[in-house]
């Protein structure tokens, strides 16, 4: 039954004026206070992590970005090494190049597969699927976006990794042995390729959903006019619709890329936890910033100097800055397209 405003207002017991002023003030404090906290949260996290990581940033210097060795140092040694005024255990060296490389490579490889896949699925979903079954397919895609990352990881560990290790990798490496970055040792199945496949599966539903919404928001008239002028439906989609929504599509790709870079659990479970070396081909083990932060929890807390924990914070900060930059660019593009849409209307 529809509620009429009149009924609602009539049914409301009107409190005395004095308590009303207090109520209004209370609501103002509640909304403004929570708004300030929510708005400041990102900045607060950034500054806090920076402040905590500062000794590590001083100790590590450029080593963090140029070295491939991560070593918390000799915990049984007496005495410490001091570098730039910061003390750490002897032999401590915090280089994250392997992890940065792994983070970028797994995500870029994943996007190479996921972007074309998502575009094709979004095209089919918006322009070809019969209206009767569209809600069902939409629901499936959204359910897929809701699957927790540990479940993807579980599937990866039990199904995907053995398949890659026992069948795919031996087959590919023996038949394409001359191809750089593909040929060579087949490995166990854990590694760059498995991580990329899992990431691609995880970001595809998210990308499909945003691309679909971007295309649905675009007026259907463009597509119809193009078909009426004699183009095939495929030409109408790829040459008329896609150019007109390219900003939105690009933004959704960036958002998904940011998601892939920060994804932790599923990658942690299938990456093989490489340390101190780069993978020689796509079937070798890697490691990512997010994964190393989780797997170093215990070892870092044993570090007597505390620099290992601060170095992990520096790693978190690096990941934070990368994803923040990508997200801000994506949001600015999206906002730009919003404005464009409004001025066209």
């Amino acid at each position: 039954m529809a509620t009429r405003a009149v009924d609602v207002v009539a049914a409301t017991t009107i409190p005395k004026p004095k308590s009303m002023a207090a109520q209004t003030a209370l609501v103002r404090i509640w909304t403004t206070g929570t708004a300030i906290i929510c708005g400041a949260l990102v900045l607060l996290m950034l500054l806090f992590l920076f402040a905590f990581a500062w000794p590590a940033i001083k100790y590590n210097g450029w080593t963090m970005l140029t070295s491939i060795y991560w070593n918390i140092g000799d915990q049984y040694a007496t005495g410490t090494t001091v570098h730039n005024g910061v003390a750490a255990q002897p032999g401590a060296n915090f280089g994250s190049l392997v992890f940065i490389y792994g983070t970028l490579m797994t995500s870029i490889l994943a996007m190479l597969g996921a972007v074309p896949l998502s575009l094709l699925v979004a095209f089919a979903l918006v322009y070809r699927i019969p209206a009767r079954i569209r809600p069902g397919v939409n629901a499936l895609v959204e359910l897929m976006a809701g699957v927790p990352s540990v479940v993807y990881g579980l599937w990866g560990v039990v199904v995907l990794v053995p398949f890659i290790g026992q069948q795919l990798a031996p087959f590919v490496t023996s038949h394409l042995s001359g191809v750089p970055f593909v040929g060579g040792a087949a490995g166990s199945g854990n590694g760059l390729f498995a991580s990329a496949v899992i990431l691609a599966l995880m970001v595809t539903p998210i990308m499909v959903a945003t691309m679909r919404d971007v295309m649905l928001a675009q007026s259907k008239a463009l597509y119809e006019a193009s078909v009426a002028l004699g183009s095939t439906s495929w030409q109408a989609v790829t040459r008329v619709v896609v150019p007109s929504v390219r900003n939105g599509v690009f933004a959704s790709v960036l958002l998904a890329f940011g998601r892939a870079l920060g994804e932790t659990m599923a990658v942690l479970m299938v990456c093989g936890a490489a340390a101190n070396e780069f993978p020689s081909n796509i079937f070798q083990t890697v490691n990512t910033i997010a994964a190393i932060i989780v797997s170093q929890l215990e070892s870092a807390s044993t570090d007597a100097s505390g620099i290992a924990q601060r170095s992990l914070a520096e790693l978190a900060l690096i990941l934070f800055v990368i994803t923040l930059t990508i997200n801000i660019i994506a949001r600015l593009i999206m906002r730009g397209t919003d404005r464009l849409g409004k001025s066209n209307a």
Partner: protein, 284 residues
Amino acid sequence: MTVQQRNSIISRVWWVISFAALAILVAVLLAIFWFVAVRGFPALKFSLFFTVTSGLAGGLANAIAGTVLLTVIGLALVIFFGIGAGVWIVEVASPRGRQLLRFTVDVLAGVPSIVVGYFLYVALVEGLGWGFSLIAGSVALAIIMLPYVVRAADLALSTVPTELREGAIALGARPTVVLFSIAFPWALPGITTGLLVATGIALGETAPLIYTAGWSSFMPSLAPTHSPVGYLTYVVWTFISQPSDAAHALAYAAAALLMVLIFATNLVARGLVESWAARTLKRS
């Protein structure tokens, strides 16, 4: 062959490829569902709900209770902060402030959950000395849920018809009455949907909890600090890499339970969206 014929063949071939892509995606999804169902449901014994994990075996009672507790307290926090900020955007903010908060909240949605977890580890677990605890884990989930709830509250409150507000004001209703008796009832389905979607995400989170809630194989103690809490996703993550069938069975059971919980929440959310859309249609 004419140009038209060639183009039409190309078009058809690409549409076939598009459908193949869709079929691959759906097939993978069904394969994962099938995998979890086939391995998980047989492992999901009645006794799991009443026994705690011990070593690599036992039950899931502690993890279930932990997941529920963390999510419920996280929800309570996010209802207070998220809806407050949503109300601010719609009812209080200047256009500039509105734009700014919407932007920062969107950006917050893109912060990797492990970064949130590590931040809270440094700030609460170590900094304030709370240790691995219920409250630190709940705060982590609340931050993860926050962008979804703020956006939902913002969106739902923005759709309250101006005539309804003006009518109430004309009848002498104060701002708080307009907000609580007019705007909130109207926006309730939208806000509830947002809360349910956020709950689905929180239920499946692991990364922000590892550094905040820790892990415990005992029932959660309800102590806010200095008492680690177990949760279902942790079981999936760690028990599958243990070399024992009992541990694997627990991991599958936890995964199946998670999927059921998350899908149930998502389905209810979808149903709400539809009934909401139907109601709005009837009115206009």
